[in-house]
């Protein structure tokens, strides 16, 4: 149900409007296996008042993606930090503003890690994901929670909603000793419900090669194993949606590849994680007014162990961390006439944190908590002649406290979105947004280096862009879409943790200032001829993100770490009768692993080519899909994070059966 916002009425552009992550009826149904696949919905380009990219079920299914991070890599302006393998941490950073400036929403509710501000996208499988959408600035919806406005960019991961009663079993296997059985059941009656369980096991072993100095190194990655069980349940009833999530895992942390005499002191570090959350939402439209309520409760447990009896070279560490997140939100929008609307939202959040960590290498305080209050007001005006204006003001009040040390932050941050549509096929748009991120518990209460008088990290973003689309007469069913953006942003008081004169002395300081400018270009083409259809999407990003912290530093004006000047992707998709094939190509240009842009710190450009071939079968009442994925087909040796080599060519096979 598209809620009655100005946006949905006004900004509809041909094929599809902006994706509403919490819309109650989703259009796609992954349980329906169509005889002929439709590539037209694969292309990730849609038009909206803010720059956004979305990937729907079809695309996600067609890509050889195991987790959300694998899929989101193809979005322009996105940098995924990937430590490699199925168990390696994968975080998202949008337009070089930093991981903590990117909000990640799962089924409409923000995931919060108050300890370090990072969300591991590797923990979200793609099997039952309906869509993944990235919005820069914020969604141009009037009815949304205040948390939706509180990041520089937001990624929305939305699960498939049940549309029929069915049972599906799947099994994936292949490289790294991967065994990945899954079970998925849906029910549609007066209520709609789904239960989803997936087990992932991998030994994480893969060959990698390095080229350094005069050497070529070929070795095997070890201690990258993972065992994870994810169980989810959803219930939809009238205007209510409930969701439960349980994740339990044990993994090895392989550590960086460094010089060693033998492998006996290679990392044997272990980590255990357990996450459980329940969330619910309610939406209601009453004439010109729409109402929204959301709530969520999360508990996280993490244990990190370095055991000197298993690896004599390490410091003994047996750290346990517990986090809780209690969240409520209420929002309303009001749209009395077509050309005017307003929205209000109020969010409350409490984050608790406990730790047994004794060593500063990973320690925060024993107990800490954070209270967050957010209030947002929005106003949208559509005066006609193709114009749309939307402004929002967000108040954030945050209080962190631990052992009598309180750190308080109050900020008012505005955002303005302007869109102009001079013709049916063309939209011009711009936005300006100010936003900040509060220091995390680690930043503030790091036993050794934390300091309660840290300032929040502040960001200003300016963006202008255009979307254009047209039919292509010379191609049967041909369509072309273009989207282009230029942007400029600035980060102040970047919070940086630096190691001190001994390994025990760290300090967390407000250090950095970063100036970023960039341009993004996305092109989508699609065509359909009888039983076959094709689509291709290409994206390219140019970015220049420079450190302007200290004018006297010899590294002043250096490119910040891990920000490539050029990056891009091409995803091509073809479907013919029951077959479908996707080919995807990802490129990351030269970048530096440090603000000192020396030759030694330069990281080689890399590209990967992936192929995925699928066949949809039907056998009586059974139907399903057979998939073969070839990843890194050309066996490129590359690193996303320095000294964390990524896997070479590898294959995965998947079979699903549905009844």
């Amino acid at each position: 149900m598209m809620l009655g916002t100005v946006i949905s009425i006004f900004l509809h552009l041909g094929l599809s409007g902006p994706v509403m992550p919490l819309s109650a009826n989703s259009q796609a149904d992954s349980l329906t296996v169509r005889d002929t696949l439709d590539a037209s919905r694969v292309t990730a380009l849609r038009s909206a008042a803010v720059p956004m990219t979305t990937m729907d079920r079809k695309t996600i299914e067609a890509l050889p993606a195991t987790n959300v991070a694998d899929a989101i890599r193809y979005f322009s302006g996105v940098q995924i930090k990937d430590y490699g393998g199925l168990g390696g941490l994968k975080t998202v950073n949008v337009r070089s503003l930093g991981t903590q400036h990117t909000g990640v929403f799962y089924n409409g509710v923000k995931i919060v890690n108050a300890q370090n501000g990072q969300v591991d996208l590797g923990r979200f499988g793609t099997d039952n994901i309906e869509s993944i959408t990235l919005y820069h600035a914020q969604k141009a919806d009037l009815l949304q929670t205040a948390s939706d406005l509180a990041s520089a960019a937001s990624v929305y991961i939305k699960e498939v909603e049940p549309e029929k009663t069915a049972l599906r079993a799947s099994y994936k296997t292949g490289a790294f000793g991967t065994k990945n059985p899954g079970l998925y059941a849906t029910y549609k009656g007066k209520v709609r419900a789904s239960v989803d369980a997936s087990f992932l096991q991998s030994d994480g072993r893969y060959k990698f090669s390095f080229h350094e100095f005069a050497n070529d190194t070929v070795a095997t990655r070890t201690n990258g194993d993972i065992k994870a069980l994810r169980t989810e349940a959803s219930l939809y009833w009238r205007d209510f949606a409930f969701h439960g999530y349980l994740y339990n895992s044990e993994r090895g942390l392989p550590g960086p590849v460094v010089r060693r005499v033998s492998e006996q002191y290679a990392s044997k570090d272990r980590q255990w994680d357990r996450t459980v959350f329940v969330q619910g939402s309610w939406t209601k439209r009453l004439g010109a007014t729409s109402l929204l309520a959301k709530g969520k409760y999360t508990r996280d447990y993490c244990a990190y162990v370095q055991d000197p009896s298993k690896n004599a070279a390490v410091m003994p560490v047996d750290n346990r961390y517990w986090q809780s997140d209690a969240y409520v939100s209420a929002a309303a929008s009001w749209q009395p006439v077509d050309w005017l609307g307003a929205g209000l939202a109020l969010d409350g959040r409490r984050n608790g944190f406990s730790s047994t960590a004794k060593y500063p290498a990973a320690a925060a305080v024993e107990h800490a908590n954070r209270l967050t209050g957010l209030a947002a007001a929005q106003l949208a005006v559509s005066p006609g002649w193709g114009w749309h204006l939307q402004a929002s003001l967000l108040y954030s009040g945050i209080k962190n406290s631990a052992a009598g040390q309180a750190a308080r932050y109050h900020k008012l941050t505005p955002a303005v979105i302007v869109s102009y549509k001079p013709a049916k096929q063309l939209r011009l748009r711009a936005f300006y947004k100010e936003i900040f991120r509060a220091p995390t518990f680690n930043d503030l209460y790091y036993t050794i280096g934390g300091r309660v008088n840290l300032n929040p990290e502040y960001t200003k973003i300016l963006d202008a862009g255009a979307d254009w689309e047209s039919d292509l007469k010379f191609l049967p069913g041909g369509k072309i879409k273009l989207s282009a953006d230029v942007y400029k942003s600035k980060v102040w008081d970047k919070i940086v943790a630096v190691p001190g004169i001994s390994q025990f002395r760290w300090s967390v300081i407000n250090y950095g200032k970063v100036d970023i400018k960039g341009a993004e270009l996305n092109i989508g083409l699609e065509s359909a001829i009888q039983d076959a259809n094709f689509s291709i999407t290409a994206s390219w990003t140019w970015e220049d993100a420079r450190d302007h912290t200290d004018k006297n530093s010899q590294w002043w004006d250096g490119h910040i770490a891990y920000s490539p000047e050029h990056s891009g992707s091409i995803v091509a998709f073809a479907a013919w009768k029951r077959f479908s094939l996707s080919a995807s190509w990802l490129y990351t240009g030269k970048r530096y692993r440090d603000v000192a842009n020396t030759r030694d710190n330069a990281m080689e450009p890399w590209y990967t080519t992936d192929l995925s071939l699928a066949y949809n079968y039907a056998l009586g009442r059974l139907s399903g899909r057979i998939t073969i994925d070839a990843n890194n087909l050309l066996d490129q040796a590359y690193e996303v994070v320095t000294r964390y080599p990524m896997p070479g060519r590898h294959f995965m096979f998947k079979l699903s059966v549905e009844y």
Binding site: N215, V258, S262, M315, V365, I501
Partner: protein, 442 residues
């Protein structure tokens, strides 16, 4: 690619390449124009490299090599070396010298400088500063040893030079890098969580945090650990006086940084070198002794730093008398770095205060004879432009003071040189996290 890996490992384990020469040192006559070295080896082919330009290989057989001397070479400089290699691995060396040449008084030629690099980035560098050229080359070691797999390694923690040995302790790579004085890689000996090194003849002693703390005795010719001696927890600095070795047990892992007060007291293990066993442990009454053992000019007193627990226990520094085996002075201020010059101890310490959130300097000069403390020659204001000052080394020939700055800890930083009056005379570009220096006397 998998096939190549299998072949490589097969070759390495099946053959242990060996080479024995008929002489280790060749003394040249003034009239000599060529010489021959006979050798025995179990490998099919060897490469012979004269590492000086005035020697050329004339003929090479499976059992001997004949070398020619360039005629126009000055006899004074006839000091060189012949290396025998198999697949880039050094099998043997023959030293070439001028017959009857009297060794000159050692002269300070320069210094070796170890940059720790950033943890996990495998970017420790060993550079060399050449006084005659007034230039520093950070990629000095890596340019000499381009074929050492994965370079110098991850987190350099100490460097030492003595005799013909140049050693570097690479902590996170868990190894002791053994080179000759010219920086040519000879071997790497695996020692988990290794910290600091001292060389005594052809033996190196290396402290290690592993197995609750020990000192490894490394035979540099045999290139392996030949004995270990248990110490206290987290041994850091070590010193040898006569037949006794002293090891400072920092108890760094046994310090309670949460402020809970469960701190284990640091101590000194007194080790008899002949039996290589601990004979006594002296308690120091300090915590987290993250420090080398700096020997005062009297040859029997150590200056030791304590970093405290960053909570109630503040940093301090002490003097420990090895004859009385007790602490003789507690200064009440930190002394993370120190060096001796002209009979005095130059103490350099900047510690971060978690109450004021500022760096606090306690730099001074201590006179062990009078017991007085005077001002540090370099003005405090000088350090305001530093990111994080670390380390002090004094040139014994002229009193020049070298102080390193780690900058932002991730980027290549600077080594500052001051004359003895405290005036800055040079700012040298070094590597990431500069930290350790060894003087090159020859």
């Amino acid at each position: 690619m998998a096939l190549f890996a299998a072949m490589a490992s097969c070759r390495k384990s099946d053959i242990d390449p060996e080479l024995v020469t008929d002489q280790q040192i060749i003394e040249l006559d003034e009239t000599a124009t060529e010489f021959t070295i006979n050798y025995k080896t179990n490998v099919s082919s060897v490469t012979v490299i004269p590492i000086v330009e005035w020697i050329k290989v004339n003929s090479l057989t499976p059992t001997s090599v004949t070398l020619l001397l360039q005629a126009n070479e000055s006899l004074e400089d006839r000091k060189g070396e012949i290396q025998f290699l198999y697949e880039k691995e050094l099998l043997a060396r023959v030293v070439v010298t001028q017959k009857g040449k009297v060794p000159a008084e050692p002269e300070l030629k320069g210094f070796y400088f170890l940059n720790e690099g950033q943890w996990g980035k495998n970017n420790a560098t060993l550079g060399y500063y050449d006084f005659s050229a007034s230039s520093y080359k950070d990629e000095w070691w890596s340019s000499i040893n381009p074929s050492v797999r994965d370079g110098l390694g991850d987190v350099g923690n100490d460097v030492a030079v003595s005799g013909d040995w140049l050693l570097a302790v690479i902590n996170s790579s868990n190894l002791l890098e053994i080179c000759n004085r010219d920086g040519v890689h000879i071997a790497a000996v695996e020692i988990p969580n290794c910290r600091m090194v001292k060389i005594e003849g052809d033996i190196a002693y290396v402290t290690s945090y592993a197995d609750e703390g020990y000192v490894a005795k490394v035979d540099l010719n045999e290139r392996k650990v030949v004995a270990t001696c248990k110490t206290g927890h987290e041994p850091e600095g070590l010193a040898i006086i006569g037949k006794t070795m002293y090891v400072l047990n920092s108890c760094g892992y046994h310090t309670d940084f949460t402020g809970g007060g469960n701190n284990e007291e640091a101590s000194i293990s007194i080790i008899d070198l002949e039996s290589f066993s601990e004979v006594e442990k002296s308690m120091l009454g300090i915590y987290n002794a993250y420090s080398p053992l700096t020997v005062l000019p009297d040859g029997k007193t150590f200056f030791i730093n304590s970093s405290g627990d960053y909570n109630a226990v503040k940093p301090t520094s002490i003097l420990f008398d090895t004859t009385e085996k007790k602490v003789t002075r507690n200064f009440g201020f930190g002394g993370a770095f120190a060096d001796v010059f002209d009979g005095k101890l130059y103490i350099f310490d900047t510690s971060f205060s978690y109450t004021t959130f500022e760096w606090e300097n306690s730099n001074c000069v201590y006179d062990p004879v009078s017991g007085s403390i005077s001002d540090f020659p370099v003005d405090e204001e000088e350090f305001e432009s530093y990111g994080a000052p670390t380390g002090i080394w004094i040139d014994q020939t002229n009193g020049d003071i070298y102080i390193a700055d780690k900058g932002n800890y991730t980027s290549p930083a600077f080594l500052y040189r001051y004359d003895k009056t405290g005036t800055q005379v040079a700012k040298i570009n070094v590597g990431v996290c500069p930290g350790h220096l060894a003087w090159d006397w020859r």
